[in-house]
């Protein structure tokens, strides 16, 4: 009987000793701060405040870091990280950055050319238009007057009686966006069909009707890749970063099963 109790006791002692041996508590309470961490914190501080930190301030920067670490660990022990939207979002963000950062290599020339060819439209130089116009104010029967004027001007070269336009007569090298800012969107859409050196219209704007003489139009063009190389590189890296995350998600998504209540009312 006594021997049995002794055996149970020694097994208990053994379990206890193993437990202590496997959980060295001291290490869990160590906080390591690297030199690099401190220097990077200080340089960030400098750029914010505009001077070097004083001794006290350095101490406080480090102290803030330590306190944060302690609070963080204690919070983890209490399980406060569970079911917290902000923490989830932050972790999701971190893995996103991680996936993106694995691709910081300089892209090869081939990759650049391929990317440029695929996304040519983003580098398109907008066409510009230089034109003069006769304006017929909406305040003064603009539709009929402009219709009469276009007939007149096409049949003979006699002087046209029009109104002065608030923003002027001649517009030089304007893109369609700029024309829209001055005349309104529906007016600029006409510029695709206007032929050079020939009076056309009338076209409606936000302020009345116009007949337009297109003097010059510089066609839009795709620049040589060498002209926009820097931008292409920046864009390619950005695109690679983005696709890294989506492909990663696509790969991993299939491993998850999503359960959701289809009858939820809200």
């Amino acid at each position: 009987m006594k021997a049995k109790i002794f055996i149970f006791f020694s097994i208990g002692l053994l379990v206890y000793l193993i437990d202590i041996g496997l959980n060295p508590d001291d290490n869990a309470k160590n906080i390591y701060i690297s030199d690099q961490e401190i220097t990077s914190l200080i340089s960030a501080w400098k750029s914010q405040v505009g001077r070097n930190p004083t001794e006290d301030e350095i101490a406080r920067i480090i102290n803030n870091l330590i306190e944060e670490e302690i609070l963080y660990r204690e919070a983890l022990l209490l399980g406060l990280d569970k079911e917290d939207r902000i923490i989830k979002r932050r972790l999701a963000q971190k893995i996103t950055f991680l996936k993106q950062e694995t691709l910081t290599d300089k892209p090869s020339n081939e990759a650049l050319i391929n990317f440029y060819e695929l996304n040519k439209n983003n580098y398109y130089i907008q066409p510009t238009f230089s034109f003069t116009h006769y304006y017929f104010s909406a305040e003064n029967n603009s539709k009929a007057r402009s219709n009469a004027a276009i007939k007149l001007i096409l049949s003979s070269s006699s002087k046209i009686k029009s109104d002065p336009f608030f923003l002027g007569k001649n517009f030089i090298d304007k893109t369609k966006d700029e024309i829209s800012r001055n005349f309104g969107k529906f007016f600029s859409s006409n510029f695709n069909e206007i032929s050079l050196d020939q009076w056309s219209g009338p076209f409606k704007s936000s302020f009345g009707h116009h007949i337009v003489l297109l003097k010059d139009s510089k066609p839009g063009y795709f620049p040589l890749i060498t002209e926009v190389l820097n931008q292409v590189e920046v864009d390619l890296l950005a695109a690679q970063k983005e696709s890294a995350v989506t492909t990663y998600i696509d790969q991993i998504k299939s491993e998850y099963k999503i359960i959701i209540n289809p009858d939820l009312e809200f």
């Binding site: 501080w45 914010q48 405040v49 505009g50 001077r51 930190p53 004083t54 006290d56 301030e57 406080r60 920067i61 803030n64 902000i86 104010s137 909406a138 305040e139 009686k161 029009s162 109104d163 002065p164 608030f166 923003l167 002027g168 007569k169 030089i172 090298d173 800012r181 309104g184 936000s206 302020f207 009345g208």
Partner: protein
């Protein structure tokens, strides 16, 4: 013998005593302290030290557009606050100057409450004008690693704008910080023997003597603002001015005397000159004169005269002295333009000042700026139109005219992003008014009501809600604010110099957020110009003077006024153009005013008896804010003659262009949230534009004003 010494003593002593007494009186009266003045020779003036803030950047690849000698209308906002303003930071704003300029160029940026703010169309010019005093300091209080954040006064600011603290619930705390803590924090001088106090004295830099101030942090914020302006300035395409706000007020009454200062250069002073240097605007002008001597040109632009309790446009100086010509010239040299409209109301005129102007009751904000509890600001001396009249009266008494300024609008937003659009409004103070219920346009629920009560009691305002048909509404003053303030400038090209010169010659106009553009000329032969000829503008420039100018008399000839306005293509059509005339009676200097309609929409003409256009029938549907599509004009132009012209009267004329009525922001807020508009607010407004005036200068009169008790001392000297 003895008698002789007595006499000698008296003979020598009397004049000596006399001289000493005279000297004391002199020192007392003129406040000149000879010994102190000797010491002052050892001082340097830190505020006049210059720094070149230009940045290296690659030349723009865009072609420089051609210069237009007939000038283009450029639109901008020169009153914008970011996180560097002490109050903006407290309101939860984290937008930087770079964010603000990106917004002006058309990018979306984030409101402190998380939603996106974006312009319908980019602006042509912009200036970040953070409060000069304590610039950048509150951010340093919030960062718990700085020395200054450890001081007791800074504790309430610690971690203020960490993401977890950016929410509406923090409004009460923020308001408390803003109203009481801040005031206590900033006036704590070091003892006189402290090295910083001595530095403050020797470099004329008072703020350094305050123990809540860190000069390095302050300079770092200012240089970031200047750098950002230089980086975003893009000659030919976008103009950014280095600027700040001189936030001063009268001592006891708290009459608002705020002014924005902008620089016409990439070089600026090493620090902004602030209310800690002096509360007196005259000292600001002295500093500006000093900069000008060093080749740096600046202008200051007063704003919110409506909240000045009559002190922005007084008939005497800040110190209560009589205004004289030197004062008038100095003021006009340094502040050629005034901000007539912004978020915190419009300062054209007040119904009590202009009882015969049916459009005077427009976006009136009748409280002193920043007063707690919000305190009435008296209209007289607070509005632009009366200032123009008072300027003429001062001129009549040969004291000079200190109120001969042009007009602009701007927003005064504190989120980095101006709010110009009634249908997309975020007011200006971040977390405090970023939601309709907080600004009083939709009813509060119970929880919000409770929050507001706490918030407002911290703000020293006992009653903060009003019970109306649809429930309990916030009644905290935000209902008097609005989506307003654009500056218009007529300039040859979109460059810093060209736009700055337009400001200086006052060829500027103001709008309430709409991009209405207006041209205005006066001359004696403008009626000969064919209004339907393309040469209209070049002829008007050749034959007349434009807004902001003087029109000299030509005998008894009556002038012609040419005015031409174009609608905002994204706004409502134009309803009418008016010319507002002010003049003084040349027998007594009594001011008068008259509002004339001069051009009507829809082909209608002005009734010559009432000087009014007939109703054009434009209406607003309050249920969905739709407006009549068939009424109103896309442009209006006319040549006008003053039917009551008196060639001997000093007068001024300025244009007011009115749009058809549209929904006010408070109505938009309400219908978007499914409520009816609040019954005690205007449901609609008429967006409008004002030109700078043209002053008619009659032949010199030989009237001398003799006050009771003798001839006036202030004269032609």
């Amino acid at each position: 013998m003895k008698k002789n010494t007595y006499i000698r003593k008296i003979l020598i002593g009397t004049p000596l005593i006399f001289i000493i007494v005279l000297g004391l009186i002199f020192v007392d009266v003129y406040d000149s302290r000879p010994i102190l003045n000797l010491f002052k020779k050892t001082q340097s003036d830190s505020a006049l030290q210059l720094v070149d803030y230009s940045v290296d950047k690659p030349a723009s690849s865009k072609a420089m557009p051609a210069v237009n000698p007939e000038r283009n209308a450029y639109f901008g906002d020169v009153h914008v606050h970011t996180k560097y303003s002490f109050d903006a930071y407290v309101f939860g704003v984290t937008a930087s100057p770079d964010d603000a300029y990106n917004y002006a160029k058309g990018q979306g940026i984030s409101h402190p409450l998380g939603y996106e703010m974006k312009l319908r169309e980019p602006l042509d010019f912009y200036s970040v004008t953070d409060h000069g005093f304590y610039m950048g300091m509150i951010q340093a209080y919030a960062d718990t690693s700085t020395d200054i954040s450890q001081e007791d006064f800074a504790k309430p600011f610690n971690n203020l704008n960490r993401p977890e603290n950016l929410n509406v619930e923090s409004a009460a705390e923020r308001s408390n910080i803003f109203s009481s803590v801040l005031a206590n924090a900033i006036i704590q001088p070091n003892p006189w023997w402290h090295p910083d106090t001595l530095k403050a004295w020797f470099t004329k830099n008072t703020q350094r003597a305050l123990n809540s101030f860190d000069y390095d942090i302050h300079k770092s914020a200012w240089s970031d603002i200047a750098r950002s302006a230089n980086e975003h300035n893009d000659p030919g395409h976008f103009t950014a001015f280095i600027g700040y706000e001189f936030t001063t007020s009268t001592d006891t009454e708290g009459g608002n005397l705020h002014r924005n200062v902008i620089f016409n250069s990439s070089i600026a002073s090493i620090r902004p000159w602030t209310r800690i240097d002096s509360l007196n605007p005259e000292d600001l002008w002295t500093w500006q004169d000093g900069l000008r001597d060093k080749g740096i040109d600046t202008i200051s632009m007063p704003h919110n005269s409506n909240g000045s309790n009559g002190q922005m446009f007084e008939m005497e100086t800040f110190k209560g002295n009589a205004i004289n010509r030197a004062y008038a010239e100095k003021r006009m040299r340094n502040e050629p333009i005034v901000e007539i409209t912004q978020v915190k109301g419009t300062s054209d005129t007040h119904p009590l000042l202009s009882p015969d102007d049916e459009w005077a009751d427009f976006e009136i904000m009748d409280k002193r700026v920043g007063s707690r509890p919000p305190t009435y600001s008296k209209p007289s001396g607070s509005y632009v139109r009366q200032a123009y009249q008072d300027g003429l009266t001062l001129d009549f008494t040969k004291q000079g005219n200190p109120y001969k300024f042009g007009l602009i609008g701007s927003t005064d937003t504190h989120t980095g992003a101006g709010s110009f659009d009634e249908s997309n409004y975020w007011s200006k103070v971040g977390l405090l008014d970023g939601r309709p219920s907080n600004r009083g346009s939709v009813p509060l629920n119970q929880a919000q009501g409770k929050l507001l009560e706490e918030y407002m009691s911290a703000f020293n305002q006992p009653v903060s809600t009003v019970e109306l048909d649809q429930g309990s509404y916030a009644n905290t003053g935000f209902t008097q604010w609005g989506a307003s303030g654009l500056a218009g400038a007529w300039a040859e090209e979109n460059t810093r110099d060209s736009i700055f010169k337009a400001f200086k010659r006052k060829e500027t106009f103001a709008t309430t957020g709409s991009r209405i553009a207006v041209r205005f000329f006066a001359g004696y032969d403008l009626s000969s110009i064919d209004l339907n000829a393309d040469s209209l503008v070049s002829e008007a420039y050749a034959k007349g003077v434009t807004m902001g100018s003087d029109l000299m008399n030509e005998g008894n000839k009556a002038p012609d006024f040419l005015v031409w306005a174009q609608r905002d293509k994204n706004g409502a059509a134009l309803q009418r153009i008016q010319i507002i005339k002010g003049w003084i009676d040349m027998n007594s200097g009594t001011p008068h005013e008259e509002v004339y309609d001069v051009a009507c929409s829809d082909g209608m003409s002005v009734d010559p008896i009432s000087n009014r256009c007939p109703d054009n029938g434009a209406r607003v549907n309050i249920n969905d804010c739709s407006i009549s599509q068939d009424a109103g004009a896309s442009e209006l132009k006319t040549v006008w003659n003053d039917p009551d012209f008196d060639s001997s009267a000093k007068s001024f004329y300025y244009v007011r262009v009115l749009e058809n009525p549209t929904c006010r922001w408070s109505t938009w807020d309400a219908i978007k949230a499914g409520f009816k508009p609040r019954e005690d607010l205007h449901e609609t407004i008429q967006e409008r534009a004002w030109s700078s005036p043209i002053w008619y200068v009659p032949a010199a009169s030989d009237i001398t004003v003799i006050p009771l008790g003798g001839s006036i001392a202030i004269g032609d000297s």
